[in-house]
């Protein structure tokens, strides 16, 4: 655990030193833009920059841009005001700002789902990459936490969204992976086992706001055991995701 934490800290320090700001100078075209003390609407406005003046954009945190004005003062400006500034080419500053119209056309999606797998609790983290609006590849890592056994499974699969224009989108999924089940220490004589699984499922994802998605799904799994009969499990999960 300590080694893991140390590794994490090292990666994190490395990424800080690598994060080098690329600055961009924009000209204010609105009557003025407001500079706040922090990246949020709760922070007070302490300065304004008038039309015609230039500011240097240093960094971005969520929807807020940290800028430095000609007098060297630094503050945070909201994206709606930054959109109205002009880049040196003389056009409005293009800003990456996903909304409802991007839902369905998005490429990447990451989420967290909680639910039930064959009577045990399950925690799943998944990532999806879309080939097009209808078809996406998904990788999911899950942790099963039961009263008598625990387990993990890792799956890779495809999801198909028939109508990507809708706000609430049903989808179908199929996939395969591996599952590892470890019986609790108190149960004697049941060995740990690793098997291949395959699943088919249906689900719904719905756009909430900004980049957020709420997602629920139902899947049926077949575990290819080395016993006489394969095992079948039912899973349902619900959770949140965001796309980018």
């Amino acid at each position: 655990m300590a080694r893991l934490a140390a590794c994490g800290l090292l990666i994190f320090l490395a990424s800080i030193t690598m994060a080098q700001a690329e600055s961009l100078t924009v000209t204010v075209a609105d009557p003025y833009i407001e500079m706040r003390t922090g990246p949020g609407r709760g922070f007070p406005v302490f300065d304004v920059v008038e039309r015609g003046a230039s500011v240097e954009v240093e960094s971005r945190r969520t929807d807020w841009f940290k800028v430095k004005d000609g007098r060297g003062r630094e503050g945070w400006v909201y994206k709606d005001q930054m959109k109205e500034t002009l880049v040196p080419a003389g056009v409005k500053m293009p800003i990456d700002d996903p909304g409802r119209e991007d839902f369905g056309a998005h490429r990447r999606e990451v989420g967290l789902l909680l639910g039930d797998y064959g009577g045990a609790s399950v925690v799943t983290v998944y990532g999806a990459w879309a080939f097009n609006e209808h078809l996406a590849a998904e990788v999911a890592a899950s942790h099963i936490l039961g009263d008598f056994s625990d387990g993990q499974y890792l799956t890779i699969g495809l999801t198909h969204v028939p109508v990507p224009e809708w706000r609430i989108q049903p989808f179908l999924s199929i996939g395969t992976g591996v599952i590892r089940i470890q019986p609790d220490g108190t149960l004697v004589g049941t060995p740990e086992r690793t098997d291949q699984v395959a699943y088919a499922g249906v689900g719904v994802r719905a756009y909430l706001a900004r980049r957020f998605i709420v997602r629920g799904e139902y899947k049926e799994y077949v575990v290819f055991t080395d016993r006489d009969e394969n095992e079948e499990d039912i899973e349902w999960k619900i959770g949140f995701a965001f796309f980018f």
């Binding site: 994190f12 949020g40 709760g42 960094s59 971005r60 841009f65 880049v87 925690v123």
Partner: protein
């Protein structure tokens, strides 16, 4: 001779007008050619040389990730209060919401039963280790500023978190729901101090019946945005 020239000029004009409507010229400005001047001199078809700058979203350094470590106390229900330490990674999705993952570990102490009965311990040393992870979301409920004296103001936020995960304790992985509340104070725009209170809710069956336990944790952490 003049007739022939006119026909030539007219056909040139028609050709030019036709070409300007061709689909592959969609991106170019749609300029009608000037009418052929009287007197028959060669018309000048002006090709507009408008340079359209291609503007892509600038590569501005985004600082939506936050990572760091924390240390504090964890009260493992029935098993004393002990030091806990861990790591935290968060992604700020908007100014109001963030996703976070935490990973922490602590060594639980002796239960009152073990202490009073004087018998064999219920758990081995490795089973006594309380290690958890939790993944979830947080809401910055009260953003604002705190003031230290008259000269220093620091940005801050009070937030609430909800997460799910697992805890390895007493020889099994246990499903865990995490509720939390915390305060974040930004010392610099990239450096934050966190004060967190969390409750890890999980079922434990060590003392006979399976019961839901609340394990409270108070920690002090330091994180950096990158």
């Amino acid at each position: 001779m003049e007739n022939r020239l006119r026909i030539l000029l007219l056909s040139l004009a028609v050709l030019a007008a036709g070409c300007s409507h061709m689909p592959w010229r969609k991106d170019k400005a749609n300029v009608e050619p000037p009418p052929p001047p009287e007197g028959g001199s060669t018309p000048v078809v002006i090709e507009p040389q408008v340079e359209r700058p291609e503007v892509k979203p600038a590569k501005i350094d985004t600082e939506n990730w936050e990572a760091g470590a924390y240390i504090g106390s964890l009260s493992v229900e029935d098993f004393e209060v002990n030091m806990v330490y861990g790591a935290r990674l968060a992604y700020h999705i908007s100014e109001d919401f963030f996703a976070e993952g935490i990973l922490g570990t602590s060594d639980a102490g002796l239960s009152s039963f073990e202490r009073l009965s004087g018998g064999a311990p219920l758990l081995t040393d490795s089973e006594r280790q309380f290690t958890y992870y939790s993944l979830g979301f947080g809401w910055n409920a009260l953003p604002g500023e705190i003031f230290l004296g008259g000269k220093h103001a620091y940005n801050s936020a009070f937030y609430l978190t909800l997460g799910g995960g697992a805890t390895r304790f007493a020889g099994a992985d246990r499903f865990t729901i995490t509720l939390g509340a915390g305060a974040r104070v930004l010392l610099k725009d990239w450096l934050a101090v966190h004060l967190d209170m969390r409750d890890y809710i999980l079922d434990v069956d060590v003392l006979g019946a399976n019961k839901s336990t609340h394990n409270y944790e108070a920690t002090l952490g330091l994180t950096a945005f990158f």
